[in-house]
Structure formats: C-alpha cells, structure tokens
Amino acid sequence: MMSLLRQVRHMSTAASAPSGFLKVSAEQIKPLLLANQHIFAKVHMHNNAYLVTKGDQMRLPYRFKGLKVGDVINFEHVSQIGSRDHVFQGDKYISQDHFNIKGVVTALTAEPMTTHVHHRIKDKGYTRTQRKVPQTIIRISELELKA
C-alpha cells in the first residue's frame, strides 16, 4: 500500500515533468486537487510570479492605472495550482477554463517617506532625495479549481 501511495505522491501535467514526477492528464489530476480544500496558485502579474492562497494580501510596489478601491481583478495568467502532494501545471499558463481566481483592491496607499543621501562628485558633498513609493493592496477573494 505504501509503495502505491508513493507512486502517486508527485504528479504533474507539464510537458516536461521533473524527474520523480508522474506525468498525467488534467482530467486525472483535477479530482485529486478538488478533494483537498487547501490549495495554492502561482499567479503572474507584470511578468512577476506570486504564490497565493485564499485570503492572502498582496502589497505591490506600484500603482495600477485606472484602478479604484473596491474593483475586482480577474487573474488570467496562472502557471500552477497545487495541494501538498499534487501540482496542476500548464506548459506556460493553465487554460482559463480550469480555474477561477479573483482579487479585490482594498487600498491604494504608499510606503512611508524615506530620505536617501547621495554622495557624488557633482554634488560637492551630498544631496538628499525623498522617496514615497505608491502601493496597491489586493486581497485574494476567490481561489478555486473548477470541476
């Protein structure tokens, strides 16, 4: 029994599955993930990857243009959805038919103002610059794999 469990422990749907992973189809792996309530997703935004679960807060160091507080974001680029033992992985991204991941913009703020000192020849001593980077705060409101 243990050997059987070990065989199905690591499964992936990627075309180039890592060594030790059993390569299976999406139909085979989705019931295994749906049985587990505790899942994560790897979402991609502006070419950066974020590993999130439901209820997480994302604090991004920039301001989205045209976004207001309370707006709902639909995540489209997702490369992995997984539980403790199994990973559903696309070749680059998973097809949008398989999942539903949404986030709510809860605040548009900024980090506290910080002072930076530059010592350069052209400054003849030093100059001080002040920085206050804008932030976008997003809460993951929905994260589910469609049956």
Partner: protein, 140 residues
C-alpha cells in the same frame, strides 16, 4: 506541520473575502468664512461637495464652519484618523487629498518586505527527506 495555538485559529476579519467594505467612513471639511487661507476650501466646497456626496454614498460628509485654518479629516473603520492641513491650498490639491483618504484603508503605512502576506498555514509544509519518493531523491 505543527498545530497552531487556539487564538491564532480564530476567524479574522479579511476585508474583501465574501464582502468588501470601504474603510473610509467619514470625511470632515473645516473652513472659515472670513479667513483668506480658506479661499481654496470654500471654492472646492461650493462646486464639489454635493457632487462627491452623491457619488460616494458609503461615506458620511461633514462641512464645519469654524475659525482657523482649513483641513480635511478622514475617519476609518479601524478607529484611525488622518488630518491634512489645507491652508492656502488650491481646490485641485484638496480634491487629491480627498481621493487619497477615500482610497486609504486607515492602516499605518509600511514598506513592502514581501509581496504576499498570509495568515494561512503553508500548503506544502516543511520538506522532509523521509516522505519523498526514493526515485526523486538526489543520489550521491
């Protein structure tokens, strides 16, 4: 995965999961009818107060006439207050500060250390050499 203490497993309020509540609940504009430093604030309230009150039904708007310099004060659901002085300021500045208060969550500002903040337990847990497939282990 070790078990968490009971006080950590109690459900917490996560704004946005299930329902979203705007965190700014009240905005107060103070102005003076006589002083010159309230000139911009008087223009702003004359033109825009009715409009922004109609556009934002979740927020309570109060205009207070009092002696002294003008300010905007925002009150938030978590009990925090943010007050901004608007003395000798243009209506455009006051509008920007109102938008800032409206889109803020009332929490103290902090620098981004990691982009994702989570209170959930780790999905994959801590890696253990005794529970991996022997075929997947690194062979020396």
């Amino acid at each position: 995965m070790s078990a968490r203490p009971a006080y950590q497993t109690v459900a917490r309020n996560l704004n946005g999961v299930g329902n979203f509540v705007l965190q700014c609940k009240k905005v107060t504009f103070r102005y003076c009818n006589w002083g010159g430093s309230s000139d911009g604030m008087r223009q702003y309230l004359d033109k825009n107060l009715q409009k922004i009150a109609a556009q934002n039904p979740e927020i309570e708007f109060v205009a207070v006439k009092d002696i002294g310099h003008p300010f905007i004060r925002g009150e938030f659901v978590n009990g925090a207050e943010k007050t901004i002085c608007c003395k000798n300021k243009h209506p455009r500045f006051i509008n920007g500060k109102f938008e800032m208060l409206k889109s803020s969550d009332g929490a103290p500002r902090k620098q981004m250390k990691s982009p994702v903040e989570s209170i959930n337990e780790s999905v994959r847990g801590i890696w253990s050499p005794y529970h991996t497939d022997p075929k997947a282990r690194h062979k020396i």
